[in-house]
């Protein structure tokens, strides 16, 4: 029974990964003499990539910024507090807020990118609004491109964390909270000692999913800023795309893809270890 699944996984997931890995050791380009007659060049692409000035460290730094600001803060932390807040609200308000948040999640990514583009760009809504108030605004897409794309990604993704946390929080036994209250535990203490430990598995699973989604995100950033101005919002995925399909250094691009894979794997391993320690993950040992 498992055989068809194994074949599907190998063909559609395994092979492209292996092929990407193989290509990263060649000099293949999209056009030019090495396009079809490429050959193995050993670790040259990696040597070039890890040499100073290649743009790799800056791209990793931007990817981590994007992860921390838009995924950890904007989605997980904000989503958690939104869910906490909604626990205390009436059912109707919860439904209304939930609906609005989920709509943001349902809108196609490219539409979200354009919405935020027209909001923040030169001559856009933000500029017109601030001008009406007599304030000066110069496009954040130019002055703070990483913050701009992080805001958009938070807005888009917060619904996922919010829904996950809402479900987990509603499973926290009410009497436990009441008992803590009676024993004199304050709000912060209840959060730290009771709620967080009870939903910690959910938090970790949320972090695993949003981390990988955010590290690999490309289209939102590319549509909003194109990675610019200059390289200012060129995260790893944009760096890879530009090398592979704008300057046509396909093999060099695959080397960046391998680095992305490695970075994602590091995060995945960390999360899996924590989850295992919690006994929440029952992987074959």
């Amino acid at each position: 029974m498992a055989l068809p699944m194994v074949v599907v996984v190998l063909v559609f997931l395994g092979w492209p990964t292996i092929w990407t890995f193989v290509l990263s050791f060649t000099n293949m380009t999209v056009t030019g003499p090495a396009a079809r007659h490429y050959h193995f060049i050993g670790f040259d692409n990696y040597r070039k990539l890890f040499a100073s000035g290649s743009g790799l460290t800056d791209s990793i730094r931007r990817s981590l910024y994007y992860l921390v600001v838009s995924a950890y803060l904007g989605q997980a932390v904000f989503g958690f507090f939104l869910a906490m807040l909604m626990q205390r609200c009436s059912r109707a308000l919860r439904a209304a807020v939930g609906a609005i948040v989920v709509v943001a999640w349902l809108i196609p990514e490219i539409v979200i990118a354009w919405m935020w583009f027209v909001l923040l760009s030169d001559g856009g809504t933000a500029q017109q609004a601030t001008q009406a108030l007599g304030l000066h605004y110069s496009s954040w897409l130019v002055t703070h491109p990483m913050l701009a794309v992080s805001l958009a990604n938070s807005w888009r993704g917060v619904a996922f964390s919010y829904l996950l946390f809402s479900a987990a929080l509603s499973d926290v036994p009410k009497d436990l909270i009441e008992a803590a209250k009676v024993d004199g535990a304050g709000g912060l203490r209840r959060l730290w000692r009771i709620i967080l430990p009870l939903v910690s598995t959910t938090i970790l699973i949320d972090l695993v999913l949003i981390t990988l989604g955010t590290l690999n995100d490309f289209s939102l950033i590319y549509a909003m800023t194109g990675g610019g101005p200059g390289d200012a919002s060129s995260v790893l995925s944009v760096f890879m795309y530009r090398q592979a399909f704008v300057t046509y250094q396909l093999a060099f691009g695959t080397a960046i893809a391998v680095v992305m894979l490695a970075l994602g794997a590091v995060f995945a391993v960390i999360y899996i270890r924590i989850l295992r320690r919690q006994g929440a993950l029952n992987l074959a040992r």
């Binding site: 380009t29 999209v30 056009t31 030019g32 003499p33 396009a35 079809r36 007659h37 760009s121 030169d122 110069s138 496009s139 897409l141 130019v142 194109g226 610019g228 101005p229 200059g230 530009r242 592979a244 399909f245 704008v246 300057t247 046509y248 250094q249």
Partner: protein, 461 residues
Amino acid sequence: MRRHRIGGIVVAVALLALTACGGGGGTTSTSTPSNKPATLHVAYWSGFNPPGVNIMPSWIGAAATELQQTHPNVKVSLDEITTNSESEYYAKLDLAERSSSTAPDVAFEDSFLIGSDASAGYIRPLPELTTWSGWPDYFPAMQKIVTYNGQVYGAMNSTDVQLVFYNKALLQKAGIPVPWQPHSWNDVVHAADAIKRADSSVVPLWIYAGQENGEAASFRGFQVFLNGTNDRLYDEKTQKWEVSGPGFDATWNYLESVRPYIEPESQWSSPMSDATVALNLIPAQNVGIVFDGSWVATAYVPGSLKPCPGFFTSYGWASLPTQSGQGGGYTNLSGGWALSVPQLAKHPDLSTELIELASSPQNLAPFDAKTGNLPPRRAVLTEPAWIQATKINPVFGYATKQIPYTTFRPLQPAYVQVSNEIAKLTGDIASGNKNANDAAREYESVVTGIVGAANVERMTS
């Protein structure tokens, strides 16, 4: 060259009626009647079309109708490749050309990538084009631009030249008499400075910069200046890349010196910067001097996306000056598009025949006029459709006169990467992240890395 949606905009509603006029064949060299059924797939870029108009069906359609007179069972299918940017079009076209199951029969190729695609083995040499009756009619530069390693790889269907557009009122306000023709780079800076002092609310000088605009920044934001010095990107005689020299230094320094006058970063760094200048700044008379392609004026003729008939009286156009008036005083650079036949095309003979038919003066005249391009061959200039277009858009006439003197980009495969580095550096200079000296050193080291130390030379005088 990077052509944009606005790059080719409709000439006139009046011309629409002429679109279908194909004229008879008679220009083909291989017209053996055949009844073998075949379908020719013609791949082209969506972005080449003027907004809201799909020019390809009428142009290729007219040629297809002519082809079917001798090959009744041949069908022509238009395969539009839809992408936002030209580099993405290229990635898709090249990937399609790698496999015989996806390779088109005729490909719409940007001339600057012909060398690269030929060296990749994507497109095939077409020696039969050189014996075709239409071939001698092409401008010599238009024959050379499709020639790589002595072989011809396509037929040009459109070209362009670069011009200096200027706002007459703003120049006059700044105390500069019009008509204006700068005779050196300094003349341009002086004029920009005078405009800035006369009216601080406008953009004094528009020069493309930054890698968001890729080829536009490299071509019209650097190479048109370097070409006005004694240095070149590529030395055809020694077959080496020039990586430094007085001309390079002068160009980098010049770009640094115009920083106070060019458009703000929010404009040059936007991927839509070409639309910003052509559809907003110029019609609103908010820019003094613009370095751009000859097709820009096509945006303003009646019936186009942004009709602005006042453009032709409120703006003037001038030739690109050389650094200090050397070499005849002016310089120019052209790009343009060709039709080529992929190596893996299934019916190469029919493909070539279709290209020859599509390249007839009767078929090229409405195509070039509507897309705002210049004809690559002389006979188009006397076609009624073209003559009528020049009456509506006088820039056509001025620009066409420059074609015999124009030059083009290096056809070497490394050009794409070199050009990308140039675009990046123009952005670094425009943003102030690098000064001219840093840019010059980086260019030298990066290009040496791209092409190899054995293939570069440093100019000293």
